[in-house]
Each structure stands twice: as C-alpha cells, then as structure tokens.
C-alpha cells in the first residue's frame, strides 16, 4: 500500500537503524520488503550457519557492514571441541566474488585464518573497520596484510583473541600514507612491538580516539605515545610497571593531566600498584573502567582508585575488591549501569565477594541494569532485596563458584531469590542461573520472564518439567543453553515447533538420547541437530538409547553444513 513514491519511503527508512526494526519493516508488504532490502547496509547474523553467504548477498545488494557469530556461547568454557566450525573464509570469499562493497566486518567466536585476512585486505577497497572478538587461528601475518593493504582503515579492534605472534613487524606495515586510524586495539597480542613505529603511527593519526596497548609497551614509551594523542577518548594501558627513572613517571603524570577527553580506561595487565597514581588525573571523568585483567592490583589499591571515579557507568573488576570495596563502589559510583565482577586466582587471599557486596551495590546504584557477578555464595534474602532495589535489570548473570551451593543461611535452594528477580525485573532479557535450584525456579521464569531472550542453566532442576516451564512460558526466548541438568527426551520433544522460533539450543550432559535427537531432526527439517561424538570412533553408529553428551541445534535455511568435523553428526 504505497501512497508515497519509493524515494520517499527510502528516505524514511534511512532513519530506521536497528536490525529488529528493519526486519519488521521488511515484513509489512512486498514493496517495503523490496525497498528495505535494497537500502539495507548493515546486517547482523547471529549464527553463521543459519544462512549461506550467497543468499545474504542476493538479498542485500547494498551491504556494507556485516556482523557474524560462529561458535556457540559455551565454546568459551571449553565445552566445544576443537575444529567444530565457524570458518569465516567462505564468507569473505563469497563477498569478494559478489563484489560487495564491504566496509565493516565484525566477527565473534569465529575461526579466522591469515588467508581470510589477506583476502579481506585485498578484495574490498573501501574496507574501514575490522573487529575480532574471541576469534582464533590468525597470526600477526594476517594483521600485517590488513595494515598494509587497507588504505582507508579506520578501526582495527582485537578483543580477547588467541593470536600467534610471528615476530614480523606488523605495525610497520601501516604505510606512511595511513592517517585515518580512529581505533586501534591490540591488547591481546602477546609479542613485542616496535614502540618507535607505534609512536609514529599515533603521531600521524589525528583522528585516533581509541588506543589499547599490549603489555610490551614500557612506561616511557607509553608516556611518549599518549603525549602524541591528547585527543584520546579510550585508553588501554598494557603495562604500568615501575620505571627506575622517577622523571619518566613524573612526565607520565603530566601527560595524563593533559588528556582532557579520556572517558574509558582499561588494561593494566602488568602493574606496579603505586604507579597507578599517574592515572589519577583522568579518573574523575571516567565513565568506563575495565580492571578485570589487572590481577596485580590488590583490593586496597582498587578501593583507593574507585573513590575518584564518581562518574562511572561501566565497571569491570576482579573480586579482590571484596564486599567492602563494593560498598565503596556503591557509595561513589551513583551513575553505575553495568557491573562485572570476575573471580581472581588469588588463593589464600581472604577478600572475596558474597551476597553482601551485591546488596550494597543494589542500594547505592539504582541505575544498574547489567550484571555479571562471580561470588562465593548467595542468599535468597539478598536476591529479593536486590530485585526490589533494582527493577531495571536487562541482564542478570550470577555465577556462584560452587555451582550447586544453596542459600548458606537457610540451606534452601535459590528458587525464591531468582523468582524475585524475574518477577521484579520485567525488562529482563538475559539471565544466567547458579546455585542449588529445583524445578520451581523454572516455573517462576516461565511465568514472569516475558522478555527473556537468553537463558543459561547449569547443574539445576529436578525433572523435565523444569525445561518445559521455560519452553512454554518464555515466548521471546532465542537462546537456551543447558549443561548438567536432568532434562531429557520428554522436555526436548514436547514442543518441537518452538525451536524454529529460537536461534539455538545447547544441551550437554543432560538426559537426552540419540533416538530422541533423531526424532527431532526428522520432524523439523529446518533445524540442524548436531550431536558431538567425541569418544566413539567416527564410523560407529551409537545406539538410539545412548545418552547424548553434547547437542547443539539451530534453525537454518542453509541445510546441513558441509564443513563439520568428523565428530559432529548432523542428524
């Protein structure tokens, strides 16, 4: 029903950015579908096996920016064996063949070979931005190709990747003519870099806003580099270790004083705590602080630092800060929206976090909406208090180090606590459970968690009813990942149609059998049902009654994939 010419509709669509909204537009009518697909520049694909690159290119000829995710989330925790898949090369090859004007590529949990980076660097003359998160297989050789060939590169952002350092001088591969860098993050690289080359690169990049260094940059080089980029907004300090020359340290402090724009700080992979005073000039303006890799900063120094960070909105920190430290955060960081507390490796150090820290945060930080909290224990009372204080949670992830620990005060499961969370936080989209939990918590989740999109469950529940409560109740569920729970075939097979409304389902060490998976695969041809068969020889067909160690199923329009390793059976 078009009362306007196409150009007008196209113009209106320009204002619609989010993927979901764009997807909704395309469903309205045929001409909107047509106009939308021709004008769409950014596409997000949450599962690289859900569609073929060819089909993507066919539908979106104006594609400029692509986000792809590969391995299932539990691959982060070593639950997916090596070689499972998620190869980016076929995508890059197809995009190159299709002469797509690719400018931006963002990959998460994918296998990225040097070959693919080399092809990427040559095939797209307008390529501007590469973001790799939790990827593997590439080396500094691949980075060298990107540096050398992407004439318009603005962003090279490497987050938490396993990269082999080949000692080549990849940084030197940025030509002198490259002056367009806006963001450079190589914190995850292990090897040495030529600090002189880096300094010159920074000096000729007037638009550089984000710079995250690895641990090989010593204090004097750090000072010189930051001095060249007073316009920085985001700084990642790799190493801040005591320099015997006191004047270098004083110089650094002066330099930091000149950085009026830094609002985001991270890193400190190696640190001498008393050197942190050099950072104090920028603390009051910080909105984002990530010290989750700064294992060398003891709790007392963390607390001293935090007292200066009154504007923090995002804080990632280690549990060495302790409950007391979280109390300081609660008193200081009134604008806090996102908090992540990671477990430190420190054995014998008593400071750790418990429910007390979380309660303090909930009382002091009413704007909190995202939480990832590793702790030693949790109580129902605390969760109920938190639910009352913070009804705005969008993401709530709790990881008790002892996965099945009950409430230590009452010895009860944590059903009531999590029940309070889902009942109070009506906008909750992501939830991760831990602690001792019965089927009851799932009853609550099914009843109240109406906006829930992603749920992670481990060592919980008592029967199939638990999983069924969730599948029946959570209408917006997209990703469900379950490990070590007593959910079996009845739960899996009761509502097979549900899985086509979801991106994926992961079940490992549960009670599901091979036979049930076969039934499911047969009933739902548009699902890939993969079972991982690690212990048996490849040609040995397991019994239908045999329990499945790991199952991953996902909806797809691409059919059975051809790159699965031997141990993966797509039924």
């Amino acid at each position: 029903m078009n009362y306007f010419p196409d150009e007008v509709i196209e113009h209106i669509f320009e204002y619609v950015g989010s993927h979901r909204d764009r997807n909704a537009l395309s469903l309205v009518c045929r001409s909107w579908y047509r106009i939308e697909r021709c004008t769409r520049e950014k596409v997000f694909i949450g599962n690289c096996y859900s569609i073929t690159p060819e089909r993507l290119i066919q539908r979106f000829p104006s594609l400029k920016s692509l986000t792809l995710k590969g391995k299932p989330h539990f691959a982060d925790f070593s639950l997916v064996p090596h070689g499972w898949g998620g190869f980016v090369y076929p995508w890059i090859e197809a995009l190159a063949k299709g002469k797509v004007g690719l400018e931006e590529l963002r990959l998460k949990r994918m296998v990225v070979s040097d070959e693919s980076l080399e092809l990427l660097s040559r095939a797209f003359p307008n390529f501007k931005s590469l973001v790799l998160v939790s990827c593997e297989e590439f080396t500094t050789d691949g980075l060298a190709a990107i540096a050398a060939n992407c004439k318009r590169l603005r962003e090279l952002d490497l987050q938490e990747n396993e990269v082999d350092d080949h000692k080549g001088q990849w940084l030197s591969c940025f030509p002198d003519s490259c002056t367009s860098l806006v963001s450079l993050n190589f914190a995850c690289l292990k090897g040495e870099i030529n600090t002189g080359v880096l300094e010159r690169l920074v000096a000729r990049s007037p638009n550089l806003k984000s710079l995250r260094l690895n641990r090989s940059v010593p204090l004097d080089a750090l000072q010189r580099i930051v001095a060249r980029a007073p316009q920085l907004v985001d700084l990642g300090v790799g190493s801040l270790v005591h320099d015997p020359a006191m004047e270098t340290f004083a110089k650094l402090m002066t330099t930091m004083n000149k950085c009026k724009s830094i609002t985001s700080l991270s890193g400190f992979l190696e640190v001498t705590p008393r050197c942190l005073t050099a950072m104090y000039p920028i603390l009051p303006k910080l909105t984002s602080l990530n010290l989750s890799y700064a294992a060398g900063i003891p709790g007392s120094d963390l607390i001293k630092l935090i007292r200066h960070c009154k504007k923090l909105q995002r804080l990632w920190i280690m549990d060495s800060i302790g409950d007391k430290g979280l109390g300081v955060v609660a008193n200081t960081c009134k604008e806090l929206q996102e908090l992540r507390v990671f477990p430190s490796d420190n054995i014998g150090q008593h400071a750790a976090v418990t429910e007390k820290g979380l309660v303090a945060i909930s009382m002091g930080c009413p704007k909190l909406h995202s939480l990832l909290y590793f702790c030693h224990q949790m109580t129902n009372a605390a969760l109920i208090t938190v639910a009352k204080n913070c009804p705005n949670f969008i993401r709530f992830r709790l990881a008790i180090l002892d996965a099945t620990k009950p409430d230590p005060d009452t010895n009860q499961p944590l059903d009531e606590g999590f029940g309070a969370i889902v009942q109070s936080c009506r906008r909750l989209r992501r939830l991760s459970l831990s602690g001792q939990l019965t089927d009851k918590v799932f009853l609550y989740i099914g009843m109240y968690a109406e906006q829930l999109e992603m749920l992670s469950i481990a060592f919980a529940g008592e029967s199939d009813k638990g999983m069924l409560y969730v599948l029946n109740g959570c209408k917006k569920l997209r990703k469900l990942e379950i490990r070590d729970c007593p959910f079996g075939n009845t739960a899996l097979l009761t509502d097979v149609g549900k899985y086509e409304t979801m991106r994926s389902l992961w079940m490992s060490s549960c009670e599901v059998t091979v036979g049930a998976c076969k039934v499911l695969a047969m009933k739902m041809p548009r699902l890939n049902v993969e079972i991982f068969n690690e212990n048996e020889p490849a040609d040995c067909e397991p019994d239908d009654v045999q329990k499945v160690e790991k199952m991953y199923l996902y909806r797809t329009l691409a059919g059975k994939r051809k790159d699965a390793p031997e141990y993966v059976w797509t039924l």
């Binding site: 539990f74 982060d76 925790f77 070593s78 639950l79 939790s134 938490e160 990747n161 396993e162 995850c188 992979l269 190696e270 989750s292 890799y293 294992a295 060398g296 280690m318 990671f342 477990p343 430190s344 490796d345 420190n346 054995i347 014998g348 008593h350 750790a352 418990t354 590793f374 030693h376 224990q377 990881a399 180090l401 002892d402 996965a403 099945t404 620990k405 009950p406 010895n411 499961p413 991760s432 001792q436 019965t438 992670s456 481990a458 060592f459 008592e462 029967s463 490990r483 070590d484 007593p486 079996g488 060490s509 009670e511 329990k547």
Partner: protein
C-alpha cells in the same frame, strides 16, 4: 508431598546434591552424570578449612570443565604474575622435565600431592615424613647451589630459596652417597 519430606532429608548426610526429592523423580534422573558436588570433591575437601568460606584451589576448580564460567582467554590472562613461582622439576628416569608453580601450593603436603600427580610417583607424601623408607625422595637446589632434602625448613623459606626440584630414586641416593664415600676413601688413601 515432597516439600515436607525435604525438610528431614536435608539433615541427612549423603554425597548427592542436597534436597533431591528422590521419591518424585524417576530413576533415570538420579543417575545424573557428573553431579557437581561429586566431581568437585566438595564433601571432603579439607582445603576448605584452611581458608574460611568455600575457596577452592585451582586443582579442584579444574576438575569440572567450564565451571566457573570464565572464558578460556580470560583464564589464561588474569593470573597474577607476581605470585607465580615456576620451578623445573626433574624426575630420574623421566624423559622430560616438568614445571610446577610453587605459589599455587600452601604447604609441603600440597606440593607432594602435585608432584605425585605430575609424575605418577605415589608415596611422595610419605617420603616427606619418612625419607629413609620411600622409593622417591624430593630434593631441591637452593640459591647457593646446594642440593637439599625437601621438608626441613618452613614452607615460606623453602618457596624463597628453591630454584629447582628433583625427584630422586632412593637407590640413586645411596649410589651418590656411596660414590662420595669412595671418593673420601680414595682421598684418605692418597694422603
């Protein structure tokens, strides 16, 4: 209903997860593979008493794959460099050496356990208590280059001074002693 019976069952001592209403659940579910408390060695983990609260050492943490859910990159990169004290450990007869982080252990008994695990040489714990009677004897090279028997000095002092470890076969120890005795005898003869 199971809720009432739960109240009493919770006070029972058993290895399974607390609060399992066994009567309601079919037999299938009770064969839960790898129940967390069993894998984790929760019940009889004496390390708990050393530290107050439920602090686990890396060894027991590592027994449950993927819990706590920290991504592998983070696990590898958030260790405190300052407290790591890796020393080489050689065992007579083994084709290659190993490395062990002294900072990971709180005392000699933990070290003994770790060495046993590394080389499969059981009885290391006993060797520390009773060096005369065991097949394998742990010795270490100190800062001055002398080879010392493990276990004489306080743990902290040992951590400070230990440069490398060696697990010697008792029979070798006698050999070396005999060699020194022979050397002394020869020296005396030549005097």
């Amino acid at each position: 209903m199971a809720r009432e019976s739960l109240g009493f069952e919770i006070t029972e001592l058993r290895l399974g997860l607390p609060g399992e209403p066994k009567s309601l659940v079919s037999t299938n579910k009770n064969e839960k593979k790898r129940m967390f408390s069993e894998i984790d060695g929760n019940g009889d983990n004496e390390k708990k008493s050393n530290t107050g609260g439920n602090l686990k050492t890396t060894e027991s943490k590592a027994q449950v794959v993927g819990w706590p859910p920290v991504c592998s990159y983070r696990k590898k990169n958030s260790m405190n460099e300052a407290t790591k004290m890796y020393v080489k450990v050689s065992m007579d007869g083994a084709p290659f050496l190993r490395k062990i982080d002294l900072g990971m252990h709180k005392g000699y008994s933990e070290l003994a356990l770790a060495l046993e695990k590394l080389f499969g040489c059981y009885g290391m714990g006993e060797a520390l208590k009773d060096p005369e009677n065991c097949e394998h004897v742990p010795i270490y090279e100190d800062k001055e280059g002398d080879w010392m028997l493990v276990g004489d000095v306080p743990w902290e002092m040992f951590m400070e001074s230990c440069k490398r470890l060696r697990i010697m076969k008792r029979s070798d120890a006698w050999q070396i002693e005999r060699t020194y005795i022979e050397i002394d005898e020869i020296k005396e003869k030549n005097v």
